[in-house]
Symmetry: C2
Subunit: 227 residues, 2 copies
């Protein structure tokens, strides 16, 4: 039989997943707004921010109540600590989506320029990192989290390539400087999303490995959900 | 008489302050490296990063042990949760210092250009935000934390001014594009440090207000140190 505490841990996990979905969707939309130069999508992202902020506060309060409720086992403590950290990373992923839309709103005021940067490709890579970091959390698998850390290098390389190409554009086509700069800042925002996914993966490793070391196995309470 | 738990809370507070000192120093040094175009200072910052990362892990472990040790009172729980969050913000302040030195290392390879941006002034404002956010934490004062939130607008304005002026430079002096871009990215890094100080201030408000609401006063354990 499941205790109330275990049910509450499940709810915490579920809410964090919903929060992850909101954050991921926001980045996805912001990048679509970039590609389609669409202000309506920008406004959807801006309006969604308060929802993400509210979700963050609710998760924090729930985590707090769980810590206060009774003395959790060490593995559950690590799980709750990981949730608190992942929660704040997801909120900041949402902030990055807002930052991207600000660049898009600047860009749509200017003439469209063909720029040597593949934002959709970078967005796909970054979105995969966020999704896999959350998967590693749900399944409690350090190996999946390790894979996210490796993907970060790929995104860093994309950012460096974009930097070189966009500086070249600024030098060769001064009339495109501002647009190139906006695109460059979008790549920086996406890189920061990747950094948050990396942080999430590290928190998962902290949770799983710490649990393994101290308990030699993950008790049912925080064990991965069966597929 | 102070319990072992209370002593451990004090130690946690002290370590977080030391961590804050390291992070602040790293940003300060990175900005000095910018002004003086000094690679030696850059390397000092890069070498200091692992120290900051180690301090973060130690604080997390101590916070974890405190949560596991016994059932803390609600106000102490909120304090420990605030420490966990502030800790991760401070580590990322250190990351920003590293990012700034990377821009400086790019810049010193290029001819020096006179740029219309006052990095030292912005660094001073940002440094004050970090310091005050930590003061608000030490003194447990929500008013001090509120003041930090207001300072964030000033830094955002500096960033926006820098953006406009540096884009102008890129258009008027194409040979200075890359240097202007490096400076622009430094202003973005400083803005992120300001964002972390803002997050810290918000965590202090969460801790103090939450404690006030639930307990109507801050018990001695986590009360501000006497000046």
């Amino acid at each position: 039989m499941r205790t109330r505490f275990q049910q509450a841990l499940d709810e915490l996990r579920q809410r964090l997943l919903l929060m992850g979905g909101l954050a991921e969707q926001a980045v996805d939309r912001a990048c679509r707004a970039y590609t389609e130069r669409d202000l309506t999508i920008c406004h959807t992202v801006l309006e969604g921010e308060s929802q993400i902020n509210a979700a963050e506060r609710e998760i924090d309060e729930l985590a707090f109540d769980l810590l206060a409720m009774q003395q959790p086992m060490a593995v559950d403590l690590r799980f709750i600590m990981a949730v608190i950290k992942i929660n704040s990373d997801l909120e900041r992923v949402g902030d990055q989506a807002v930052n991207i839309t600000e660049r898009v709103m600047d860009m749509v005021e200017l003439p469209a320029e063909d720029l040597p940067v593949d934002i959709p490709r970078m967005a796909t890579a970054v979105g995969a990192m966020v999704r896999r970091s959350l998967e590693s959390f749900i399944e409690g698998k350090a190996e999946l989290a390790m894979a996210v850390l490796e993907m970060d290098n790929v995104v860093d390389r994309m950012r460096d390539e974009a930097f070189i190409m966009l500086v070249k554009t600024m030098n060769e086509r001064p009339q495109a400087t501002r647009q190139a700069l906006d695109a460059l800042l979008v790549t920086r925002n996406l890189e920061r999303v990747a950094d948050h996914a990396t942080n999430i993966a590290e928190d998962v490793i902290f949770w799983v490995r710490g649990a393994d070391v101290r308990h030699n196995a993950i008790p049912e309470t925080t064990a991965p959900a069966k597929k």
